[in-house]
Symmetry: C2
Subunit: 226 residues, 2 copies
């Protein structure tokens, strides 16, 4: 049963002057042409700015690369779908009949996109400062808990920790081939990981480096990172 | 001779309450630890939002994918370095001795980064609305001239048009290898293009598709697109 969006608006705490905009933000493309993809495009850019601005002030001595990594962790699909669950969006999504039963990663990504679309809708319905205050209230705890060192962990470690947190089996790394002469070899690695049909690949000038690249591809394929 | 930043501030039309912020925005990392990279990170997110917001309103029937492509053309390095030249930034850049003579793509990318850093500096010195009005004045003509059809051109066409506009030789596409059985082949293409040392590669299930992918890689390697 799909619940009326006015309930959710009340829960989020925003009084939409145009509630149809909020309904649009919850409408997946499986419903047809009028859907939340344009709002998601807009909301994504607002979220990226608000988090960038917050991190810039929060970590005055962090370098650009560190800020980028920290932001990537805040705006990645897994984090956004967590926010969606905390807001209880699931019951309010407008989905086409084919999507109603979709579960797992597919549903997570629909939830994550809806969070961005809602940010776009709040901005259009009010202004940047209002959108900013909602975003910061949803991300407050996560921003406080950010540990700069976390973002420096390598890809294999991050993949392993993600799988362990979901009680999934650990990945295996298979050496597919080695090319080139001894002093300039290229290693080709495939990563076998549950939940990804087409094995993520990595290449590098050492086996270790190729494995890291394969782990990075796996994290992207799992939509844990961008 | 490096000119004083106050001249440039006057030309841009912004009266910085903290001119050292503006000077920082013009300071390349080759000068040392205090450089414009953090401001660039912040300014990039502001630019992305302002352009997204403008395109959202300007093209009410464009789909999310079209809006993304149009924005990518606005915020890509080549466009930003054009903006930098129009603002006359070149004479005001603070570069380390190693970078002073750098030319071509290298210099273009330093100029493009400085534009983003200046956006970040203006925002910190004032507010989002002020930053927005500068961005829109710098991009006004380009936004008006945007043609949605342009963004639908394929990568090979865009690469050819870019090279022709610079009077550079056209690229060649070499088939490196074909793998797999007749019904499921993978084609490997390398694109030879002036200005890129390591030939951009593309793979695909047809030769045409692999060439398009190689052209896309070439556009990225040339910093024409992201």
């Amino acid at each position: 049963m799909i619940k009326p969006v006015s309930d959710l608006a009340r829960r989020i705490g925003h009084n939409f002057s145009d509630e149809s905009l909020f309904e649009l933000a919850l409408t997946h493309r499986s419903c047809g042409k009028k859907n939340n993809e344009r709002l998601e495009f807009l909301g994504d850019s607002i979220l990226n700015f608000v988090i960038a601005d917050d991190l810039f002030a929060r970590f005055p001595s962090a370098k650009e690369g560190e800020l980028s990594r920290l932001r990537a962790r805040m705006v990645k699909g897994v984090t956004l779908s967590e926010v969606a669950r905390e807001l209880g969006l699931g019951d309010y999504l407008r989905l086409g009949s084919g999507e109603l039963k979709s579960g797992g990663y597919r549903r997570d990504s629909i939830l994550a996109d809806a969070v961005e679309a809602i940010i776009g809708a709040i901005y259009l319905d009010s202004d940047m400062e209002t959108a900013r205050s909602y975003i910061l209230s949803w991300f407050d705890e996560r921003l406080k808990n950010l540990d700069m060192n976390e973002s420096l962990k390598d890809s294999k470690t991050r993949l392993q920790e993600f799988l362990q947190s979901r009680r999934l089996p650990l990945p295996t790394y298979d050496l597919i081939k080695v090319e080139g002469e001894a002093h300039a070899q290229t290693f080709y690695i495939e990563c076998q990981v549950q939940g990804v049909d087409k094995a993520p690949k990595g290449t590098g000038s050492s086996r270790r480096q190729a494995e890291q690249e394969a782990a990075k591809s796996a994290l992207i394929a799992l939509q844990v990172e961008k």
